[in-house]
C-alpha cells in the first residue's frame, strides 16, 4: 500500500502545480520553471537511472538534456494535469537517446547495500540484489517499461501512450518480461 501511495502522492501533487505554474512557465517565466524543476527533477532522475541500467551519471546527463526540451515544448502540453507523465516520458526518451548516442556498454556498479528494503530477511536482500542485476542486463526498451511502470506509476493506458502501444499490448509485454526474469532467477 505504501508503495502504491508513493506513486499516487506524486500524481495528486502534480495536479496542484500544473494549474498554477505550467501556464506561467509556458509563457517564459523562469521562476515557474524553477518550481517545476524542484518538483519533478528527482522523479525524472529516478526514471532515467532505471532506463540507463543504474548508470547514475548517464541518467543525470539525460535529465539535463530533457529540461531544455521541456522548456521548448511546454507550450504544446494541452492538459496541464498530465504534466508529470509528460515529463517522465520525455526523460525516459532522452535516457534512451543518451544510451544510443554513447554506444557503449553500460557497466553497472551495483550497490549491494539494500537502501529501501522493508524487510530484514537476508534472503530478501539477496533476491533484491539479484533482481537489480537482472534489470541492469535488460534491453533499454524493457528497462523503460519497468521504469515507467514501477517508478513513474504509469497504468496500462499511460504506458501505451508513452511507448506507442495498446494497453493490452503493454500488459502482455510486461507479463512476458516478468516471466522471463522469474525464469532467469529461478524464482518460482
Amino acid at each position: 500500500v505504501a508503495e502504491h501511495l508513493f506513486g499516487m502522492e506524486d500524481t495528486l501533487a502534480a495536479d496542484d502545480i500544473a494549474s498554477v505554474v505550467v501556464a506561467r512557465a509556458a509563457s517564459g517565466d523562469v521562476r515557474a520553471l524553477e518550481q517545476i524543476i524542484a518538483r519533478y527533477h528527482d522523479d525524472m532522475t529516478r526514471v532515467c537511472v532505471v532506463v540507463c541500467g543504474g548508470d547514475a551519471d548517464l541518467a543525470q546527463d539525460a535529465v539535463q538534456s530533457a529540461w531544455p526540451i521541456v522548456w521548448r515544448k511546454l507550450g504544446t502540453l494541452r492538459e496541464s494535469r498530465r504534466l508529470r507523465p509528460w515529463l517522465l516520458t520525455i526523460a525516459a526518451n532522452e535516457a534512451r537517446q543518451q544510451l544510443r548516442q554513447r554506444r557503449r556498454r553500460v557497466v553497472v556498479e551495483l550497490d549491494v547495500g539494500v537502501t529501501r528494503s522493508s524487510r530484514d530477511d537476508p534472503a530478501d536482500s539477496i533476491r533484491s540484489v539479484d533482481l537489480r542485476a537482472a534489470v541492469g542486463r535488460l534491453e533499454p526498451d524493457d528497462r523503460t517499461l519497468l521504469a515507467l511502470r514501477y517508478v513513474a506509476g504509469f497504468d496500462s493506458a499511460e504506458l501505451g501512450r508513452a511507448l506507442g502501444m495498446s494497453p493490452s499490448g503493454v500488459r502482455s509485454r510486461l507479463e512476458r518480461l516478468t516471466a522471463r526474469l522469474r525464469r532467469e532467477l529461478d524464482d518460482d
Binding site: 518550481q35 531544455p68 526540451i69 537502501t115 497504468d155
Partner: protein, 425 residues
Amino acid sequence: MTESGFEARLARAVREMAESGIRPFDPRAMAEAVVATRRGPFGLGHWPATREGRRWFAFAAVALLLAALLGLALAFLGSRPAETGRLAFVRNGDLWVANLDGTGARLLVAHDPKDQTLGSCTGVQWSPDGSRLAAEFHVNDGDPRHRRISVLSAEGASLGSFDVELGPAAVEGPGIAFAWAPDGNHLAVLAPQASVGGLWLIDGQGRLEQDLTLPQPYRAANPIYPLSISWSPDGRLLALTGCPCSSENNGGWILPMDGSESRAIQVPGGGNVLSFAWNPDGTRLAFGSANWNGPTQDPDTPGELWVVGASGGSAERIAARVELIEVTGWSPDGKWIAFSEPGAIDVVRADGTGTPVRVGANTNTAATRWSEDQRLFYLDVPQQQTAATPSELQAIASIKVLDPAGGDPRVVLDGVDAYPAFDLH
C-alpha cells in the same frame, strides 16, 4: 495491474535502483541554465549534455562573468548610469534586441528566405513587463496574404503563434496592427478586411481567445494606412484606426472590452483619425488626423492633433500642420505628446500651451517611443528612401534618442529597417 509476490519484489528492486541515482541539485541554477540555452529562431540551443560539454559550459560561464564584471567596472569608471531597458528592432528582415544605449545588439530571430514558414519580420512589440515579444512575420508559402504573429520569450524562444490571412487590399497596405494588453496576458490583433480579416484577442501563446466584433462601418470599409490599435491603460478599452472616413465615420473607434457598444471618434470639421495615444492615466486620448476623403472646413489645416476625454466630450485642437499628423506617443509624465508629419517629428505640450518643438527634421517616420526616464527614441528614415521598394528599405534607418536634458539627437543604432516599428521597454 495488480502485483504478484514476484512483481512486488521486482517493483521494489527497480525503485531501489532508481533511488541510487538521486543527487542534490539547485533548481534555480538549473532553471536559469535551461533558459540560457535558448537561442536563435524558434530553436533550441545546445545544452551541455555531456560532461565535457558541461566543463566547456562552466569555462564559458566564468569567462562571461569576468567580461560582465569588466563591463560593469568600465561603466562605473565612465560614470555612466546603467541602461535598464531594452530595444527590439528589425534589421534586414531579422529581429534584433539591444540595450537602450545601442550596446549588446543581438540577433534574436533570423528569417530564412528558404524557410517555408518564416519570412521577414515586419513589426515588433515588447510585452509590458519586458519578458516577451510579439512580432509580425511574413509567411514564405508563396501567398503574400499570409502573416504570422509570433509570441517569443525575451531570449527568442517561440511561445506560440497566430496566423492571419489578409484580404487583397491589405497586402500592400497597412498589414496587421497588434498590441499587448496592459496585463501582459493578451494581445489584440487587427487586420481589417471584410472577407477574411477582423479583430481578435489571443493569449500569451498565440491561441485565439475571442473573435471581437468590429463596428459595422469599419467592417464595411477597406483599410487605409495607417492601421493602429492601442489599449487604454486599464485594459478596458481598445482604440483603433484604419478605415477611410465619411461624414459619419472618421475611422477612429473606441471599443469597450465588456461588449458594450463601440463609440466613433469624430474629427471636428471632418477628416480621418490616423492614430491614437492614451495619456498615462487613461483619462484622455490624443489623436492625429488628415482630411483625406473628408469634408474640409479649413483647407489650410488638413493635419491636426486633437485631445479628447476618454469618456467623450469635445475634442481640443493642440496643433495643426499642413500635412497629415500621426500621434506617436504620450510622455510617461503626461506632459508631452510626440507626433509626426511627413519629413519631421515634433513634440508639443499636452495642454496645448506653447508651440511644438521640432525634434527631427528631414526624417520620415511615424515610430517614436518614450523611455521611462522621458527620453524620446525615434526611427530616423532618410526622406529620399520613403518610396523605395521593401528590399531597398532594409537597414537604411537609424534609431535616435533625444535627451530631455538638451543637446542634439544622438544615434543609438544604425542599420535598422525603415518601416517596421521598433519598440522599447
